[in-house]
Symmetry: C2
DNA sequence: CTGTTAGCGCATTCAG
DNA sequence: CTGAATGCGCTAACAG
């Protein structure tokens, strides 16, 4: 490995001069800069990041924490998409990205500890928000720079987060169903531990309330993602005395699972039941029928969270921020008039 | 930040002793070990990874390179799934994972250069294999430890890779269609630059040949992933004089797009046309009809590649290996007798 | 404008 | 069994 010293020797200057050339220090003459740069190229020199990190006390790397994959939530195209968003800004500023995908919560917690204590990263992005989250608490207590994608369970004003207005989105999309003449509207959500479920459900309830439609507990179902979840949800639905004519589903992936099961049961969407959901993952335009869904601008969520985190790692006492990414309903074919 | 020195002082020993305790050096008495460990805990000591990397000349981190996301291939659930596989073994050995998701090939190349030259990582996993790939060549020339998930374009015997036998898989699944009575069978693949497309297509051709069915160029379509790709492919299909009764599709995601477009055109699967594909991504059991597809054991691909890469980084002159992960056809509802 | 010195936090000789 | 000394590769005062 060729070091700064080798370059120094070869160019007939001191190591510190080489270091200054690397940093493009203006106090070095153009002449020596040129000379040194040529030598660097000739020798194939590249700075050792670890040595640099050691003295700089910064790694220019951020940790990205996925939710525990035990529940297969990882399968959600939401994640690749948000990684792209993060990636795009990361790349512009020459940062790197450490990915953590633990199986269990405990595993994730350990990885985060390692990242933080070991100075692996300058900051952390949490790609989920759940109630009473150990990782969140840890990060907060440590005073370590981090941002949550989603709405924090507590300390909302102290924790920088990037989110959609999921309450409002939930309300709007439910209102759409109401305006289309639906009155018996069900809500299918993921785990209630997830803040995003709660918010969307809250919006759904608010819309019903505003329209003077009573909230019926039996119309609210919480389930897993994916096939089994969709299956469960439909099973539950079918067991009801009078089944809803409209469905607000908190995630495109759940919709997908339900669509499949619904068809098996001979229930047609949107003729028999209308359906709306959230995220506007690319899949939602491929399904039959294509889904009316809330586009939450996933990439933007990622990009903004990376941006604000990096600011935070650079300026440690940047105040906590809340960044709301606007959403937009995409109307497709899963809703009909009632 | 509490360092090794602080712990040393507090426990009344020298820094080197503390270092030895961390490494669990057997030449340190149990007594002092206990004392020092207690102090470490008390002070909240955690080793600084950068300092350690610097002297160890190893980072215990691996770089994972996704294909360029310009083509949205990233949306494929294949990637989260393989990341999980990698993650699982990474975690067991306390390694970390650097993720690179460049938009363009050039961007990716730069990132890889940075990773390699800057000693960010000990080795690299390439999650794709394409013809004439700059990144592959670079890694090979540098003699940097890396493994390809897929089949290398060249230097097959020199480059460690983890792959399925995609040729065989292609042949088997095509043969299945033939055995079901199909004779006019089309192939829909992704880019021909991708080795995986070539292999699967090769298997398809071999199966036809063996069955004495002539290869028809017009029955082979190459397209993008996702909706537009499926649309294109179906458009092409419909323009044919006599359309195939069986379709071998090189990726579940393409099947998904096609299914949608096919239905719009009033062509029923499997009644009018049978369809098989590859990967057995979770989506393929949610589609209607559920897809008959080749399960390639994605997680295992990931796990094995991580495992063999780590071996390689530890023992630099580990010989090049080829690891073939077995595949298995999963029979579902997208094929009917002809 | 440039060189000298010191030190980041740790692991590893070499003594003892 | 333990300590002192040295250096990993780099940056940052401090001199000049």
């Amino acid at each position: 490995m060729v070091t700064i010293k080798d370059v120094a020797k070869a160019s007939g200057v001191s190591p510190s001069t080489v270091s200054r050339v690397i940093a493009n220090n203006p106090r070095i003459s153009e002449e020596t800069k040129k000379k040194v740069r040529r030598m660097m190229k000739e020798l194939g020199y590249h700075p050792n990041i670890n040595a640099r990190n050691l003295v700089a006390k910064s790694t220019k790397a951020i940790g990205v924490i996925m939710p525990s994959s035990a529940n297969r939530a990882l399968q959600n195209p939401f994640f690749p998409e948000i990684l792209r968003g993060i990636s795009s800004v990361i790349h512009d500023v020459s940062y790197s990205m450490f990915l953590s995908t633990g199986e269990t919560e405990e595993e994730i917690f350990k990885e985060v500890q390692r990242m933080v204590y070991g100075s692996y990263v300058d900051g952390v992005i949490l790609l989920y928000s759940r109630v009473e989250d150990k990782v969140t608490n840890f990060l907060r207590e440590q005073g370590f720079p981090f941002v949550i994608v989603g709405k924090p369970d507590r300390f909302e004003t102290e924790i920088t987060h990037v989110d959609n207005d999921n309450f409002k989105a939930g309300k709007e999309i439910t209102t759409h169903l109401i305006e289309m003449g639906h009155e018996r509207i069900g809500f299918i959500g993921g785990s209630r531990e997830l803040l995003v479920t709660r918010e969307r459900e809250g919006g759904y309830e608010a819309a019903l309330r505003e329209a003077g439609i009573p909230n019926q507990e039996s119309y609210k179902i919480h389930t897993q993602f994916l096939k089994s979840g969709g299956r469960e949800a439909v099973e539950h639905l079918l067991s009801l005395e009078t089944i809803p004519t409209g469905l607000v589903v908190s995630d495109d992936l759940i919709s997908l699972g339900m669509l499949s099961r619904l068809e098996e049961s001979g229930i047609r969407v949107p003729q028999d039941v209308s359906m709306v959901s959230f995220n506007n993952v690319y899949l939602s335009e491929i399904t039959r029928p294509a889904l009316t869904t809330v586009d939450i601008h996933i990439q933007e969520l990622g990009a903004q969270s990376a941006k604000v985190l990096i600011e935070k790692t650079i300026n440690k006492n940047e105040p906590a921020k809340r960044i709301i990414i606007p959403h937009k309903i995409v109307y497709r074919d899963s809703v009909s008039k009632h």
